[in-house]
Subunit: 199 residues, 2 copies
DNA sequence: CCCCTCTTAAAACCAGGTACTAAATCAGTA
DNA sequence: TACTGATTTAGTACCTGGTTTTAAGAGGGG
């Protein structure tokens, strides 16, 4: 019954909406014991969009995530590819790739980009990663664009050694040394990315 | 201009909505050259809900997905953890982790499980991966349950070396050697997983 | 010709809002 | 005490993107 101070109400409101984005203003009036106009003023002040807008944003995010996941097969966009020689791919660090608290990209995304590229650059129907030696040189933050460059250092019948360097601007942020195995028969792998599997 | 037969229109309608769920009935009238009433009858017949309902469903799905993904931060379920000593996590290979054509798990998921565990086992507020040396020993297929075991081999003030072995049943499928850096200040990392970031 | 399906139209209504105007309430202070 | 300004509540008009219902043409087929 006792009215909360405005600030506290704002906090509660934000919290309530955050952990149930599907709540209507009308339901919020019941929980916060203020009029619907107050709720709406509060949302306005806090920059919280209306229910439908919230749902739309969520839907769009998940839709984009699904759509942008033919990347699911090859992580990062390959912009240049000279089979058995070299390749370049670009990968932008987005919300879903970072720790929410720190904004630092999770390591396996950088690994995934490099790994995908290393496999893609090998000119064979089935190519899988056998071993990898990797180094995270500096942390990568939300919004940064990672450019990975792969160079095939040696290329035998069965195996190829691929070096990958990932840059953000001028800085090297990641370095990886991959041993890629060609040919479908003699898999010794836990699942490298396959060029042939891209969409 | 020429009107399509009803069946064909239905197919087109379903297709259009499928690959742009955010389309309104009004926009559909333009694309299909029929009245808005016809569009609505069609949706009714096909059991396609209205725009808002579609968005809501998508939003709910993604919300559920996010909620059920504290896994998002640590890949695999940690079933045992002795800080600075050892840890065990379980990760089941599902549809979304494999190449659709071959059913072989993509390497970065195995890497992610091992990396997450390696970081989690380090008893520090902020721990990030500096380097990793990994080996995919055999491919892992859809449905297989990967059990990763991490052992802290040496643990200094700044750095810790963690070895991770991943098994499917009795077989070793993956092996990784991680150098994990403690403490927030001296990051030299591209983003390892952080224990503190788990939900 | 009537009947039937398909299509279009029009009107009433709804949820969940926005935008705007205005009044009531409360706190502090000159 | 009265004035001032922020806060809260109320009310109205309007919007989108629909649903429901009721009705009426259009175009065949028997």
């Amino acid at each position: 019954m006792e009215r909360l101070p405005k600030k506290e109400r704002h906090q509660r409101l934000a919290r309530l909406i955050e952990d149930n984005p599907f709540i209507t203003d009308r339901e919020l009036t019941r929980l916060l014991k203020v009029s619907i106009q107050t709720i709406r003023l509060d949302r306005l002040e806090l920059g919280i969009p209306e229910l439908r807008e919230r749902m739309k944003l969520m839907a769009e995010r998940s839709f984009d995530a699904v759509r942008s996941l033919p990347l699911h097969e090859v992580i990062g966009e390959i912009v240049d590819l000279q089979l058995d020689k070299s390749g370049i791919s670009i990968f932008e660090i987005r919300e879903e790739h970072v720790f929410s608290r720190t904004g630092i990209a999770r390591g396996h995304h950088l690994f995934a980009q490099a790994n995908s590229l290393a496999v893609a650059v090998i000119n064979d129907e089935v190519a899988l990663t056998a071993t990898a030696d990797i180094r995270f040189i500096r942390q990568v933050k939300l919004g940064e664009k990672c450019i990975a460059k792969a160079y095939v250092r040696s290329s035998g019948k069965r195996k190829a050694r691929v070096e990958v360097f990932t840059y953000v601007g001028e800085e090297t942020v990641f370095r990886g040394d991959f041993l890629i195995v060609r040919s479908a028969g003699a898999l010794q792998d836990g699942g490298g990315d396959r060029l042939a599997d891209r969409d």
